[in-house]
């Protein structure tokens, strides 16, 4: 989910650490993110192993490797929990999700998720109403640059159902990868349903 993962994944590769392996997600029906969302990908994806930063409601997939594209799901994040695991004493913190959040609050929660983890440039490009999980939610398009200086784009669709946050997010290199994966992201988001 986070850009920090890119660094973590990279260092895991370099260190040859005994991390959990990537697993294939075949085309068909898949229950994701704590089995809280059902989606129907039309092609094969790679499930990214979880890191210690990830919360139990999160799951991430990639097509070409997480440095180039990542699709993340958050399935039913409860009120009071943050998008990532963080320590109480961390200087910079992602605000915990609240069921009472305004669209403005949700957007800045996503933005801080990037900024608190070292993204210096984050531009909100579009915020508009969107349908997600048969409910009215928000679509957020954004652009950002991490310390690796590679310009990236992101799209996030999210909605609050029963005081819980459901979210799908795609981020990828602005040159080629984001745009090439976007149509399938759109198709998977449209196929998403509660089990």
């Amino acid at each position: 989910m986070s850009s920090q993962r890119h660094l973590i994944v990279l260092s895991m590769i370099f260190l040859g650490a005994c991390a959990a392996p990537y697993t294939l997600v075949p085309a068909g029906v898949a229950r994701v993110a704590d089995r809280a969302i059902v989606v129907q990908p039309t092609s094969t994806w790679n499930r990214i192993p979880k890191t210690s930063d990830d919360v139990q409601w999160e799951e991430s997939w990639t097509k070409n490797g997480p440095l180039l594209d990542t699709m993340a799901f958050i399935g039913g994040l409860p009120d009071g929990k943050a998008l990532v695991r963080q320590k109480k004493k961390d200087d910079r913190q992602v605000p915990p999700f609240r069921a009472s959040m305004s669209p403005e609050d949700l957007v800045s929660m996503i933005e801080t998720n990037y900024r608190a983890r070292g993204v210096a440039v984050f531009e909100v490009e579009v915020v508009e109403p969107a349908h997600f999980l048969q409910s009215t939610g928000i679509r957020l398009d954004y652009a950002f640059v991490h310390a690796d200086k590679l310009p990236r784009k992101g799209r996030c669709v999210m909605t609050i159902i029963g005081d819980k946050l459901y979210l799908m997010m795609l981020e990828g290199a602005a040159s080629h990868y984001f745009d090439s994966v976007l149509p399938e992201f759109q198709q998977i988001a449209a196929s998403a349903a509660l089990p």
Partner: protein, 352 residues
């Protein structure tokens, strides 16, 4: 192609160049200055004359003399050829480390052949090598202190207020303490360690203050000694909100409040009130919604309030069940910013 991390601000960049020229005179032409979008308090100098100035530094200085004090320090590294010295020092010391290690192993091997325990030779070599490695860090700390003193000399010659360098450190230490306190933890100076490349911040602050006081005794400070605060305000004003935004969006509330209140010592503005509200909104503790709402309400009273202050004001009023007042504020936001990236979302909120 220029990096996306470079701040596109030709007028402000030219202003920073004039400050460096005032400090260095003819030597300034050897330097290339880049303003980098990075929220950390930092500036750095490469041996080829490339100086990087972070927006996180620009967010934390309050006048031209404070900016000059940091630029003078960095220029000090360059003019005193510290990078080259460092490299030579590192090369010499790493050669010595390798030589001592290899020598000890040879002696230990010979001793072992003769039936003696060679380990003590290796232990001795390790001890010497550790001392050499530590001396590298001490060397780097000495260079920092030297650049500090050199920087203050430049400030004095250019007629800037020489206590500015100490002020910058004082502010930074106070900010780090406020940040730690807000997260219920002890302030720890990250530069107090044998492996630190920089002197401890408190020591540095004391040295800077002493140097400034001594210089003020020696140099007749008459018409010079200025802070250049009006020039700084004029030049930084168009970018000030973006520098502050970069800090507040990190959601480090202690540091954020310190920064806002320190800037507000000059005067409260719409920008400062808006970002004060943003700190409360991001922190989201009990009672923060009300405090954020108060700050936004104060922000929109100022002429310089950014359009986003009206949006925040609107949503905060709606949360407090003042729906009609909230709707008017959101409509004001759309009037001011009809093409805002979130205009469609705000219109949707109004239709609910």
């Amino acid at each position: 192609m220029e990096s996306d991390l470079i701040l596109r601000a030709p007028d402000f960049h030219s202003y920073v160049v004039t400050v460096v020229e005032r400090l260095l005179g003819a030597s300034a032409q050897d330097l290339r200055i880049y303003l980098v979008r990075d929220p950390s308090f930092n500036a750095s100098m490469a041996p080829n004359g490339m100086m990087l100035v972070h927006t996180g530094l620009l967010a934390r200085v309050h006048d031209e003399a404070q900016l000059a004090s940091v630029l003078g320090h960095e220029a000090g590294h360059y003019l005193r050829k510290h990078s080259v010295e460092n490299w030579r020092n590192l090369r010499r010391k790493s050669a010595a480390v390798a030589f001592i290690g290899a020598g000890a192993n040879a002696v230990a091997g010979y001793a072992a052949l003769q039936g003696y325990d060679g380990q003590s030779w290796i232990d001795l070599a390790n001890a010497i090598n550790n001392a050499i490695v530590l001396s590298f860090f001490r060397f780097s700390r000495q260079q920092e202190s030297e650049a500090d003193a050199f920087g203050i000399g430049l400030l004095a010659r250019a007629g800037y207020n020489t206590t500015s360098a100490a002020e910058v450190w004082q502010q930074l230490i106070a900010e780090r303490k406020a940040s730690a306190a807000a997260r219920d933890k002890k302030y720890r100076d990250q530069s107090v360690a044998a492996f630190s490349t920089h002197p401890p911040s408190e020591v540095r602050l004391r040295d800077l203050m002493d140097t400034a006081i001594n210089l003020n005794k020696d140099v007749v400070v008459s018409s010079g000694a200025e802070t250049g605060s009006a020039r700084w305000r004029r030049a930084s004003q168009p970018y000030f909100a973006s520098f502050i935004e970069e800090q507040i969006r990190l959601n480090d509330p202690g540091a954020g409040f310190y920064l806002i209140e320190r800037h507000a010592q000059e005067r409260w503005s719409g920008v400062l009130r808006y970002y004060q509200g943003e700190i409360y909104r991001l922190r989201g503790e009990s009672g923060d919604s009300e405090l954020a709402a108060e700050a936004y309400a104060a922000a929109v009273e100022h002429e310089d309030a950014p359009p986003e202050a009206w949006r925040a004001h609107g949503y905060s009023l709606m949360k407090l069940n003042r729906r009609e007042d909230g709707r008017s504020a959101l409509m004001r936001y759309l009037e001011l910013q009809p093409d805002a990236p979130d205009a469609a979302m705000v219109r949707f909120s109004l239709s609910q």
